[in-house]
């Protein structure tokens, strides 16, 4: 047999991937060319939403512990990745979320009390109001990625200048649906931006075991679409990457894959996950040191756009909103089996009508 090492190396090579960063962990601009075009009000608004979301997350965790919420996936640590990316969209643009992406939905117009109802296992949680362009949180990892291609094709066919932003995680990037979605988006040149929030763990499985690829961003190359890796703890970098990708997509210049390198400070979900079983305190501490809120706060304070007083006000506002919205969720009338049966089809067929009667008869017989 011939020696494989002899002769020219024809294997495909990838250029090293360089991560986009704008703010240092100390809140200093380190990449002047890539500072996004944001007004002071917009900068303040991104920070307000991140602080609000952190307070909301904290409250949601405690509501879950009290049994007032059902399934809940904490978001702390991922605020820059979530909020700054959604901030780069317009209301008419469409969000296809993963299961952790409630903040983007709410900031895109989905009422918070419905997010709580969804968590509490109430059907009304899923009734997205007219004019709010989002899908429900996707439970099947990666399913939203292929659907995003369809929603994007819909915009293209209807000649609407709108964009779809689909979110998944580092784990999600291993699913077949992920590759299929990227490939379709590229093949049909669709207005869609895929955001992989690489928070380092799919439940307990570290990124290093998820793929042999050095970055997730480079997976774009195989699909023939644009890919970029950004510092997911840096709201300005996330905004810049998403804004540019969204505007390119809007102008018919095709899809982009964005990998935001981030970390979830909390457990995978509140259903028994214990991160200490798979990651060290030191590692957590390192990520907490580069908290997205810290650097944005420092940056805005240096520009005179933020203060402790404002931050406290936002946290109070968040707490009051969460309290009011959870009460609204708790006061929503209970579902019925009859209503559930009627929600299956546009017109309930005779066999289901019969089952409704059967159910009522059994219920009446005490």
């Amino acid at each position: 047999m011939a020696n494989a090492a002899v002769g020219k190396d024809y294997s495909v090579k990838l250029q090293p991937v360089e991560m986009l960063k704008v703010l240092s962990p100390e809140g200093k601009i380190i990449n002047e060319d890539m500072v996004p075009d944001l007004t002071d009000d917009q900068l303040r608004e991104i920070m307000r939403r991140m602080v609000f979301t952190r307070a909301w997350d904290k409250r949601a965790v405690s509501l879950q512990r009290q049994g007032r919420l059902g399934f809940y996936a904490p978001v702390s640590g991922q605020e820059a990745s979530m909020i700054a990316s959604e901030f780069a969209t317009q209301k008419e643009d469409f969000i296809c979320p993963g299961y952790r992406d409630m903040p983007q939905l709410v900031w895109h117009g989905y009422p918070m009390y419905q997010a709580f109802l969804y968590s509490r296992g109430h059907q009304h949680g899923g009734e997205i109001p007219e004019g709010v362009n989002v899908l429900l949180p996707q439970i099947i990892i990666g399913a939203q990625i292929v659907q995003a291609a369809g929603v994007a094709m819909g915009f293209k066919l209807k000649k609407q200048k709108n964009v779809v932003v689909a979110y998944t995680g580092d784990g999600g990037s291993s699913q077949g649906d992920f590759y299929e979605g990227l490939n379709f988006a590229g093949a049909f040149n669709l207005p869609v931006v895929f955001i992989v929030q690489n928070n380092q763990y799919a439940i307990s499985t570290p990124r290093s075991k998820q793929t042999a690829a050095e970055t997730i961003a480079q997976k774009a190359i195989a699909a023939g679409i644009r890919g970029i890796q950004v510092d997911g703890m840096d709201a300005l970098a996330v905004y810049k990457a998403t804004h540019d990708a969204v505007e390119r997509a809007r102008n018919g210049e095709g899809p982009t894959l964005i990998e935001t390198v981030t970390y979830r400070f909390g457990p995978h979900s509140m259903s028994g996950d214990d991160p200490s079983k798979y990651r060290t305190k030191d590692e957590q501490g390192e990520w907490e040191n580069i908290d997205p809120l810290i650097r944005m706060r420092k940056y805005l304070e240096s520009k005179g756009l933020w203060s402790e007083e404002v931050e406290n006000q936002v946290m109070e506002e968040a707490k009051a909103t969460v309290n009011e919205q959870i009460k609204k969720a708790e006061q929503t009338p209970k579902m019925t089996i009859e209503g559930l049966i009627d929600s299956m089809f546009e017109v309930t067929p005779p066999d289901l009508e019969e089952q409704k009667a059967l159910y009522a008869a059994a219920k009446g017989d005490k």
């Binding site: 059902g70 399934f71 299961y99 509490r120 296992g121 109430h122 059907q123 439970i139 099947i140 990892i141 990666g142 784990g171 999600g172 291993s174 699913q175 077949g176 649906d177 799919a202 439940i203 307990s204 499985t205 075991k209 998820q210 793929t211 259903s271 028994g272 996950d273 079983k277 798979y278 209970k334 579902m335 019925t336 089996i337 559930l340 049966i341 929600s343 299956m344 066999d351 289901l352 089952q355 409704k356 059967l358 159910y359 008869a361 059994a362 219920k363 017989d365 005490k366």
Partner: protein
Amino acid sequence: MAQMTMIQAITDALRTELRRDPTVLVFGEDVGHVGGVFRATEGLQKEFGEERVFDTPLAESGIGGLAVGLGVQGFRPVAEIQFIGFIFEVMDSIVAQAARMRYRSGGRYNSPIVFRTPYGAGVKSPELHSDPLEGLLAQTPGIKVVVPSNPYDAKGLLISAIRDNDPVFFVEHLKLYRSIKGEVPEGEYTIPLGKANVVKEGKDVTIITYGAMVHTSLEAAKLIEQERGVSVEVIDLRTIKPLDMETVIASVQKTNRAIVVQEAQRSAGVAAEVIAQINEKAILHLEAPVLRCAPPDTVIAFPQIEDEWVPNAARIVHTLKQVLDF
């Protein structure tokens, strides 16, 4: 004998087979390092190493394909699908590949795979975690479907499933994982696949059921026995494909009346099949039509009304009365 929960019995079965047979491999999402989201594989990676008990990337289709390929290579994969709703991502590997391997290759290859997955109402899990999809699998030619109702059965059935040379879909009820304890012998023992268990003997009416509904049916039997002075027989199918109709028919010939209780939606499922076979094999022994007690044909109810959707003892009693009073 040790007292074990169902989850401990499952771990024990896996450990027993990993020790006995070097071709047994255990893998899936989060099953290695942390031992699974329900700790069903806890300690196994430590004992048997990363080559035999391992985490996979997050891709159910990948897990299924890996299992089929390893089966071709002579291994016995025990693949965990983290929650039952995720099987749709791996349906091709289960239904179109594993279940047909022996048939397509004229016996040259087979798929000695166990697909383990949790399911079941009663713990208010999010959507696509608890759906009763066992009927869907039972309709697939070439695959066996096992639903244990207690720790002792879970261990014996899982060992049989691992040793079986054909694919087995092994469905574990979430509510039973830790809610009941039972005596489980140490070491090897098997419960044959395709063999039902008469969990309570009676003479006036038979309840045919499986999984968590065995416990609800026993509760209902007690209620109606107190109220009516009748005697109820309860059969735990244990394996829903293939069905042990011999045990069912023998019971119906004795009691002449029967109902089938299932957690899965009413139509086209296990209950329908059991009733069809009773009609085929014992129609002249029946004093009343065989009725079903099952949830309506909706997607499994949202957690908020899950408990009302799943049959409870009162609804089973209602169905029993219809059969007794016919």
